[in-house]
Symmetry: C2
Subunit: 421 residues, 2 copies
């Protein structure tokens, strides 16, 4: 009677099983809970686990799907500690983050809160990389990426301000999607740098990334194209002035080849040097905004904060407004240039996700270098977990779309995955 | 010994008095408290008042300045009820809103929380217009505008998503400034429509608006120009397809004349009809985002919410993503067009703030019509309280600057006020 549950099922397959009566709404939740019991002692992805669901999930696109929520996403019925280890914490907020309600209306079952770095910056939490416990899972959405990679939940949510979704997705070998800036509500989620912070999610199937986008935006379902014939892919990492590590170059070549086999035309995309400069501009925006956004947390808790966070907040506080304004202006000037490239030259951009596989050690979460500029530009980014690097560890590359071109980007990725298994 | 305190003093004058020892740091606070006792029974601007300050204010640009905070701005030591009348409330938040710390670091004394409409939308609070208690003060920052107009505090903070600063400033006859979108941190302030919400402030002196901008951004002090010679002012209200009421047209003419007397060149600014269309796009963005941002509040409290708010949230929920994306795209396309107009044709725009003086009655807060498009464009807007209309009530007009051109806009306004008393 209790046959083993297929943990690798896609969300749509589970929905079909629910419709046909083959599965019950809580089946996936219970299977995930068993997996968590088995894997959590090594992975340490969770801050808090929810009790068994007391009401059946709503009928929606995500009915019965167990999800993890990064610990900076506020919940009424579960504690939130914002990755602080407790110096800032609540047993339950007055209202749920908007995301929680939007997800529950689509039928999810909240599995629990996943480990975040301290206030979603660099101080690591306890989580280990599920593929090698001596390596970082990346951050700041450490627990969400690791929980999905360890098969503990099929879907988990995080945020990206520099590279906090794409990097851990690359390190853990899962799909990670950062939609267009502002496409999904951040209400009830601790902000760090409001003009950069973006909500995103991790999954093991591109189809599940797509389903979740439709569930949250109520956009029509994203279907695969017949092929990638006519799709133009521009290859360009930001910054390009860093020499790409050989394994990263190889990963980009592999995926470029795969895109070509699916029918796409792959070309280098010339974006001028001002785009490389956006990496530094992102740092300015992040530091300036974080110093102001977290002014009260700094005043109350500076003596308990990690040194890197204190350093950033103090550096940000010292930045003059005119420098901040310059950085914002530079981003605002380049956004239409990039949109023009999308309108005239390419459909998506293929770029490095990270400088290599997950670094060894648990005292840092790796470098968001190759994500910073895209985040500042506000464009949708998708980590494709298609390659391997040093030690056989996963190595992703990202596809980048135009602002609010999320559906096009996801349709291309879905097509790629279906036509070149 | 206890001579009457000059309630109309500018912040800089008080700072000079502190420096010379003529005033003590708490003098202004006590004078305001007396004024509140006298005026509050009629005006009803306050949700909660702070106890007497227990520590002296920090030495900063705003040392000893008593301020009011809209009741959607979270505070550790004062209750917040978000204008809900209590269905959502806390006696104190875990951390202060970032604004509170940034202000206290500059020396302010928090006087208390001012009345907000329900969740900063249209359901009015108790506040009356200080110039005529049978009229609305406007909203949603009702208490902050009224408290400044009634002389209860020299400075108060609010937010604008459609017209919630400029409109009440016009109705109450005070300066109201909405800086560039994103220029000042909203952390710890309830969001409504995140791509529109902007923090701003009210004061009786243009100098105080400027001082506050410098205090919050740490930008250099904003000085008056020698004159307005060479400054180009473009006259254009949005939308222009509405016939301006005669008193509004007269107010625009009066201020245009005053600008010319100060040396400026005043010309009509031709912005094409797409700009008028932004009024409707703002409504789409606001409804779509609010429905998502307040999804959890709606789920928990819909039966206690005002009917207009429920209507907006339900309409917003029904809006398709593609329509929202279209509205955002239209705004993004016109922002650079407007920036070009600022670069090539005009320094500031002169526009209507409202359709007339504060309407009679307390069951509504007036219409934000003439503010919606500017808010969507993210540009800084300043209400100049220079005219009178029906019944001798105040009637403002607004000066609008380019994105991140706050300092230029404020310098022009300061010059206007100094050269044409």
């Amino acid at each position: 009677m209790h046959e083993p549950f297929d943990m690798t099922m896609a969300i749509e397959a589970f929905r079909n099983r629910l419709a046909s009566g083959e599965s019950q709404p809580l089946d996936w939740w219970h299977a995930c809970r068993e997996r968590i019991e088995a894997r959590e002692p090594e992975v340490l992805a969770w801050e808090a686990l929810a009790p068994s669901p007391s009401v059946p999930p709503a009928a929606g696109l995500l009915q019965g799907v167990p999800v993890g929520l990064k610990d900076i996403i506020e919940t009424r019925n579960l504690p939130t500690a914002w990755g602080t280890g407790g110096y800032l914490s609540t047993p339950g907020s007055l209202v749920d983050a908007a995301l929680v309600t939007l997800l529950e209306q689509q039928g999810v079952l909240i599995m629990g809160k996943t480990v975040s770095t301290e206030l979603a910056y660099f101080t690591p939490g306890k989580t280990r990389n599920p593929l090698d416990p001596m390596r970082t899972p990346g951050g700041s959405s450490s627990g969400s990426a690791a929980a999905v990679a360890a098969g503990m939940v099929p879907l988990a949510f995080g945020t990206q301000t520099a590279g906090s979704i794409i990097r851990p997705a690359s390190y853990c070998g899962v799909f990670g999607f950062k939609p267009t800036f502002d496409a999904v509500s951040l209400a009830g989620i601790k902000s760090f740098a409001p003009s950069l912070d973006t909500l995103g999610w991790f999954a093991n199937h591109i189809e599940d990334i797509c389903t979740t986008f439709s569930a949250l935006t109520r956009a029509p379902a994203i279907e695969a194209l017949p092929s990638l014939e006519g799709v133009r892919v521009g290859v360009r990492s930001l910054p390009s002035d860093e020499a790409l590590a050989p394994e990263v170059r190889q990963a980009l070549d592999e995926v470029a080849g795969r895109l070509e086999r699916a029918g796409a035309e792959v070309v280098p995309l010339p974006l001028d040097g001002r785009f490389d400069g956006l990496v530094e501009e992102q740092k300015v925006v992040m530091a300036y905004e974080a110093a102001r956004t977290l002014a009260s947390e700094y005043r109350q808790f500076a003596d308990r904060m990690g040194p890197k966070l204190v350093e950033l907040l103090e550096a940000g506080r010292a930045l003059p407004f005119v420098r901040y304004r310059e950085a914002r202006a530079q981003a605002a000037a380049l956004q239409p240039v990039l949109s023009r490239a999308f309108a005239e030259q390419v459909d998506v951009i293929l770029a490095a996700s990270a400088q290599g596989v997950a670094p060894k050690g648990l005292d840092a979460t790796g470098d968001p270098l190759y994500c910073r500029a895209w985040t500042l530009l506000g464009v949708p980014c998708l980590n494709l977990p298609l390659c391997r690097g040093d030690g056989g560890m996963p190595l992703g590359v990202q596809l980048v779309g135009d602002r609010f071109g999320d559906e096009r980007l996801l349709a291309i990725a879905r097509t790629l995955m279906q036509t070149t298994p």
